[in-house]
């Protein structure tokens, strides 16, 4: 605090709170709370069935692309009941929201760090595994919060997979 705060503590406290609130989007805990509330409310009141379907990158992406294929080519690929009449644009929104945030903060630039073919293959494997267990890791966490026993088992298995991959990556790096 500088010497000029004699006008009253209320404005400075308010300004202090505003500065702190501007930093909240940087916090993973803030992300967790906001995303959980938004996904749970959207899943409970709008985007259902199935239950706890408010946010998922794998299932919503599958629903969107299968909806497009069904409507353009007249196929009948599987789409959940929530996304069968009108498509789910969650994945489009995530990419657009990220672009907006990066643009507003000067972080929007094309970066190529290589390894794109392995990324392509890993993307395919992740999608198959995610559709098999019924959700991307984010939806598995939200489903666990909903009270899904299978999701809790999956979450434990995902944790095991992360530890196994991290330890083996460190082992490969040290060899």
């Amino acid at each position: 605090m500088t010497a000029g705060t004699a006008t009253g503590g209320r404005e400075s406290a308010w300004a202090d709170l505003r500065i702190r609130a501007a930093r909240w989007p940087r916090s993973p805990v803030f992300y967790g709370i906001v995303v959980a509330v938004v996904a749970a409310v959207a899943g409970q009141w709008v985007i259902n069935p199935p239950a706890a379907y408010g946010l998922c990158s794998a299932c919503h992406g599958r629903d969107l692309e299968n909806w497009i294929i069904n409507h353009v080519y007249g196929k009948s690929l599987f789409v959940t009941a929530a996304g069968s009449h009108w498509p789910l644009f969650t994945v489009v929104g995530v990419v657009l929201g990220s672009t907006l945030a990066a643009r507003r903060n000067g972080e929007l630039r094309s970066i190529n760090i290589g390894g794109n073919v392995p990324q392509f293959l890993l993307g395919g494997l992740v999608m198959c595994a995610a559709l098999f267990v019924g959700g991307c890791p984010t939806r598995i966490i939200i489903r666990t919060g909903y009270g899904d026993v299978a999701a809790l088992i999956t979450l434990v298995a995902i944790a095991g997979g992360i530890v196994a991959a991290t330890v083996s990556m460190r082992w490969w790096a040290r060899r």
Partner: protein, 148 residues
């Protein structure tokens, strides 16, 4: 047009919020445990814990508003139907965690990275959506529809 259209609008809004906050916070659901194992950094792990706890509390409040399902801790009809189902879910989760960690981020984080211009994330998404069609067209009929 009509009430069914709200699904599209709401899902786009959810995506925009998640994408914006995901870009600002660099949040990743598998990054939490990975950073903890590698460098004992708990920043992202706290985000994962917040996601889990907040969704648990929110669903509790929503169930209380709807006046349903308060007498039980676990949702009905979500228990795997036998030992082989548990094994299948365990193997699927293990592979999901393993491959996602090798690719460097969880699928949602890859969407965020694609939005801010990472070329590798676009390659990931290309494989991701191609596999989505392959899985629902050819793999799922052989495996059978899985109770989610």
């Amino acid at each position: 047009v009509g009430e069914e259209m709200t699904v599209s609008i709401v899902s786009l809004g959810v995506g925009l919020i998640v994408g914006y906050l995901g870009q600002r916070s660099r949040m990743c659901t598998i990054g939490g445990l990975r950073d903890f194992v590698l460098v004992r950094d708990t920043g992202l792990l706290k985000g994962v814990a917040a996601l889990l706890l907040a969704s648990w509390v929110t669903f509790g409040v929503l169930h209380a508003i709807a006046g349903s399902n308060l007498d039980r801790l676990w949702a009905a009809g979500t228990t795997p139907s036998g030992g082989w189902a548990v094994v299948a879910v365990l193997v699927g989760g293990l592979l999901l965690g393993f491959f996602a960690t090798l690719s460097g981020a969880c699928p949602l984080r890859q969407h965020v990275l694609a939005g801010q211009g990472r070329i590798g994330a676009w390659a990931f998404l290309a494989g991701f959506y191609l596999a989505g069609i392959v899985y629902t067209s050819w793999l799922e009929p052989h495996i059978g529809s899985w109770p989610i």
